[in-house]
């Protein structure tokens, strides 16, 4: 039997629209009378707002509306709602939005932004997570610079007993790995269009990669169903603050056409501001970030500092692995804690190691908030653990291929979180890889299988 889809090359359902130019991205939705939005952003990385004067901007002809923190019904959002839509007092990173203007055209909006007067008391910022972890460091956040995973200032994963494992080892290999921050650089910058209707409801055209998460958060910010949605100001994390009971019908959230995301559009960047200005002015409002804004102020992959200490026996088996990872989260929690969770769960790699201890820290600094990017926290961990394997090989005088074969998951083994792995094929994948790369591996490795630990 030939199948229609399985085993066939299937063309993209949206491919024809892409090649004819018919695909309509958010910025391609054109509604008559749409106002252009520009943001007024903080000139300093840390400070306390003394006074904000938007009157000259508001008085300008062509300006339809200006919003500040006062206009935001619930000025705290995120899965852990700790991030303001617009800063009220405490600025935590350079470029943080403080006010936004909607005007008839871009030139007018830019001119209005230039008329906003800010009196801000600059404070000493902290940029290095190691500095931020010190007790006397400047406080990025009032509750402390280290995210609390329940009771602990780190995500902890324990399997077996690493100290016992180290005792059994013939050699110990310990190294520190640094992974820099990375920008997604998706080709479509952050953009949003909010169109109000006469009944006070909104249609929002969004670039979101996480429509239902964002819809819930938007309803919370806008307090559109006041009796159902409670404004929760930030409180230490006790569980999920996800608002699942919001009234979804108040916003017609139109999305799904994303000009590249890679994790850059898992956090709300523009929809809250377009929504607020659309409600305030009664007119459609569009905000398209400039490339410069997108590079400087949108979320990105945060930097990591990872220390790995491994105990290895002479035959190449890793018998204990201890990892301490520090994630530079920037100023807000966003998805950082989830990134650290995933990192910690899987940092030991695709290898069966009986004794594992992982500490994953999530540390606030006065930088734009980092968040998700492809693989969340796993990609940096893979970089570190794979380089570590090469270093183990050098120290043992063994072929790095062999170390990987000897330690690779076999069917029925489990990860550091005791998740049993049943469909594993790392051994076979490496065999194929060696073949394709023209690497001649010894029979001993080429006859191994993922079903048996030989």
């Amino acid at each position: 039997m030939t199948m229609k889809v399985v085993g066939q090359r299937v063309k993209r359902y949206d491919g024809m629209a892409h090649v004819t130019g018919e695909t309509r991205f958010v910025d391609d939705v054109i509604v008559p009378g749409t106002l252009t939005i520009k943001a007024f952003r903080s000139p300093v990385a840390k400070g306390n707002i003394k006074d904000l004067d938007t009157s000259a901007a508001e008085a300008m002809p062509g300006v339809a509306g200006v919003i500040t923190a006062e206009d935001v019904p619930c000025n705290a959002y995120g899965l852990v709602p700790d991030q303001p839509v617009l800063v009220e007092k405490a600025v935590r990173y350079k470029g943080e939005p403080i006010a936004a203007v909607a005007a008839v055209d871009e030139d007018t909006a830019v001119e209005a932004i230039n008329k906003i007067k800010l009196d801000i008391e600059e404070e000493k910022p902290v940029f290095d997570p190691l500095e931020a972890m010190k007790p006397d460091a400047p406080k990025v956040r009032p509750e402390g610079n280290v995210f609390m995973f329940g009771e602990r200032p780190f995500r902890q994963i324990i399997l077996g007993d690493v100290e016992e494992g180290f005792k059994k080892a013939d050699i110990i290999v310990e190294n520190e790995y640094l992974h820099p921050s990375l920008e997604h650089a998706q080709l479509e910058p952050q953009a949003s269009l909010a169109v109000p209707d006469a009944g006070g409801k909104l249609t929002i055209y969004t670039v979101s990669q996480a429509l239902y998460f964002h819809l819930g958060q938007l309803l919370g910010i806008l307090q559109m169903e006041p009796d159902k949605v409670q404004c929760k100001q930030w409180a230490p994390r006790t569980g999920s603050s996800w608002r699942h009971n919001a009234g979804f019908s108040d916003i017609n959230y139109v999305g799904g056409t994303v000009g590249g995301g890679f994790g850059a559009k898992n956090d709300i960047h523009a929809d809250h501001v377009t929504a607020l200005l659309a409600l305030k002015t009664g007119q459609p409002c569009k905000w398209r970030w400039t490339r410069e804004e997108d590079l400087l102020y949108s979320t990105f992959r945060g930097a990591w500092r990872m220390t790995i200490k491994d105990g290895i026996t002479k035959d190449g088996r890793i018998v204990a692995r201890q990892i301490k990872s520090i994630r530079d989260a920037g100023a807000y929690s966003t998805l950082n804690f989830y990134v650290v969770d995933k990192h910690s769960f899987l940092a030991a790699g695709p290898y069966f190691i009986e004794n594992v201890y992982v500490q994953g820290y999530c540390v606030y600094t006065n930088k734009p908030p980092a968040s998700s990017m492809r693989g969340f926290g796993i990609t940096p961990a893979t970089f570190a653990t794979e380089v570590q394997i090469d270093k183990i090989a050098t120290q043992l005088g063994m072929d790095p291929w062999e170390i990987r074969f000897v330690n690779a998951f076999r069917k029925g083994e489990h990860t550091a979180t005791r998740r049993v792995v049943n469909s594993v094929a790392l051994v076979e994948v490496m065999q194929k890889l060696a073949e394709k790369a023209g690497v001649d591996l010894p029979d001993k490795l080429m006859t191994m299988t993922s079903t048996e630990r030989g």
Binding site: K11, R12, D14, G15, M16, A17, H18, V19, T20, G21, T23, R24, F25, D27, D28, I30, H184, A185, Q186, L187, E188, P189, V258, G259, G260, F262, R288, T290, R291
Partner: protein, 158 residues
Amino acid sequence: MYSLEFTVNGQLCQVAVDLKTTLLEVLRDKLFITSPKVGCNTGDCGTCSVLMNGKLVRSCITNALSAQGKEVTTIEGLAEAGELHPLQEAFHDNYGAQCGFCTPGMILASKALLDENPKPTREEAKEALSGNLCRCTGYGKIIDSVMAAAEQMAQAKS
């Protein structure tokens, strides 16, 4: 204000512009032709690429008035008599378009190449498209698409 008269995809247009209006603004904001995208607005990414008298230009850094009397082609103007251009077919067949944001510019840059060099090598194709960024595909399938289109056009000729 100045009057700009030019042809877009075979249609004569007249638009009022000022000295700092770009061709991209005319196309998107005045004529509502949205296939040229605003990826950077600084001439760095190629998503706003269009053809002006057959030559590839970045419309975000092209002064609108420099199109005076000229012929501009966007991707909407590639199909002829309802038939897709072989490049459009090839990008669809070979997965040369993923999110689609770079695609209109990429196909027009490819057209500029094939008009000049109908049988490019892969290296020449890479070189010709090097000003058009794509974040999704990794470029391999874009070059495959261009090579397939070149092949198809050569066959159609003979």
